[in-house]
Point group: C2
Chain length 325, copies 2
């Protein structure tokens, strides 16, 4: 690969001028710029980003740590983040933690060693800054992991309320909440539950809470868990699930066991992953605006130097009504 120096020689200028053109184009005469660009084309020159990063003490990478890439919600997050990261001239370093704290810490340290411009974390770990410090902005999404780390979430509390209100308005009386996993403090799902419970109680309905110890998002045992719960609560007529996959599992169980959805049981999911629309019956759900969140998060990192970063930012959610209610 050609280097800056070769380009400079070919264009009859010095490396300083070429470098200036790349970094402060205003300082260079238009005709010189053209000459240099021609030389670059001739030599098929491309700046070595590694060398640039070293010199600037900062790379163009943005690290994204997610618990899973297969889970449809995070897949959506990844795709959306990638788009915004690329649109801003940065590159995505993807890290899949599989919910393991050890891995998250390793990833953090790796990202530091690579001088990333920022880290986006959708994480399990309560406060990772206790383990690894990093000289770049860190933003957590989907949950609040520490008072020192900016968090960007969607309005889970309202999401829970909206679900409750819809079920009530449809005439449900015995309403359950299905928890997709272990409830962690600060985790978005727990706010969903709180909003949901509050709205029900305001209408004099006592929520029936299902929860279990499974901490993976996709589990082969969902059917068993659902079966066990419905055995003791056969009479529920409404269910709010903390994510769409759980909702799909519930509908699947219901269909198999001759329970009509939505006739006998109305089901609401959360996230609005592609599956929700594709399922049969299609699933009513609360959509998190992953797109808005991604846009905001990436912009925040890119303009970190210029703008202050709010410690918490909340985006609205939207009820998407489909066949399952």
């Amino acid at each position: 690969m050609a280097t800056l120096k070769e380009v400079a020689d070919k264009a009859g200028v010095t490396v300083t001028t070429v470098s200036r053109m790349l970094n402060k184009p205003d300082m260079v005469h238009p005709s010189t710029i053209r000459r240099i660009q021609q030389a670059m084309r001739d030599l098929d020159y491309q700046p070595n980003e590694i060398a640039r990063s070293l010199s600037k003490k900062m790379s163009n990478f943005i690290g994204l740590i997610v618990p899973s890439a297969r889970n449809a919600f995070f897949a959506k997050v990844i795709e959306s983040m990638e788009r915004h990261i690329t649109a801003n001239g940065y590159k995505l370093l993807l890290c899949v933690s599989n919910h393991e704290r050890r891995k998250e810490i390793e990833y953090f340290s790796m990202l530091r060693a690579n001088k990333v411009a920022g880290v986006i974390i959708a994480s399990h770990t309560q406060d990772i800054t206790q383990s690894v410090s990093i000289d770049a902005p860190i933003i957590s999404i989907d949950r609040i992991i520490s008072p020192h780390i900016s968090a960007v979430c969607s309005d889970n509390f309202s999401g829970g309320r909206m679900a409750a209100e819809l079920l009530i308005s449809k005439g449900c009386k015995r309403i359950a909440y299905f928890n997709g996993g272990i409830t962690l403090k600060g985790m978005s799902a727990s706010l969903r539950q709180q909003g949901f419970e509050q709205a029900l109680r305001q209408q004099g309905i006592e929520p029936i809470i299902q929860s279990h110890r499974e901490d993976r998002f996709i589990s082969m045992k969902y059917q068993d868990i659902i079966a066990a719960f419905l055995e003791t609560h056969a009479d529920i007529d409404g269910a709010f699930c903390s994510n769409d996959i759980l909702a799909a599992e519930l509908i699947r169980y219901a269909t198999k066991n001759g329970i009509d959805v939505p006739g006998q049981l109305r089901v609401i999911g959360y996230d609005d992953i592609d599956l929700a629309e594709l399922y049969s019956p299609s699933i009513t759900t609360i959509r998190q605006s992953v797109e808005d969140i991604s846009h905001f998060v990436v912009e925040s990192i890119v303009h970190f130097e210029d703008r202050p970063m709010p410690s918490q930012t909340i985006f609205p959610v939207q009820l998407i009504e489909r066949e399952s209610t």
Copy 2:
């Protein structure tokens, strides 16, 4: 951040020794190694990967270009690749091309500028090397894009045959093939179709082929396309879909229109994404061993210098029988 030099000073050795310890530990005395390690701990030292990469003219990044991150099959690919890449001490640079040739070329050029150790591409573009050259191994997965680029695929031809044979063995007589998108030369899906057609014809059954011009994997118009097709082919009793999502859409349509699956219509998908098991009825499908492919591809890149790379490698597929047949 501390530098090599500071560590060396603290440990009472020179940078050369420290660098040697990091790269050729055999040359350094165990007790010296301990002293240096202690100094590193004291200073919270971490090698600057950027500087390393510059010096070595090669980074630890592996680029993965996929058309989509949301699509469940590619989500599976991403997760699997990430695991193997990380396990080998490399880092994943994720690129989502959205099927756009222009983007693929940009990504390629970006990866080159970042001196990646290798590129894995699940791509649309027929032969990207015509546009961008790169001094690193390139491997295409899921399809053959050029005679000059190693390809790693699963045995799509057999997959198609297996689907055909299952439908025949279940007694289907009027069997259709649903194509998820435009058929591109060399694309894995076209081999699936060929295997499928061949197996049917060998049994004296003429396949009914559905295909359309949609080139996105997830489209809102699948229902319309299916409806149009079934209008003129209402009598089919077996269907092989080129991917699981299409199979889900077909089942959804059938369910909505009172066609019993598998009673009146048996459906087979392809890929075995999570959805296949979750759907109701669960979907019989051909599983591609994404795990094996990922493992092989990443190992090939990591050991590129040592081993020759086969121009084509094919992994077996597996029939997963579920409720939809």
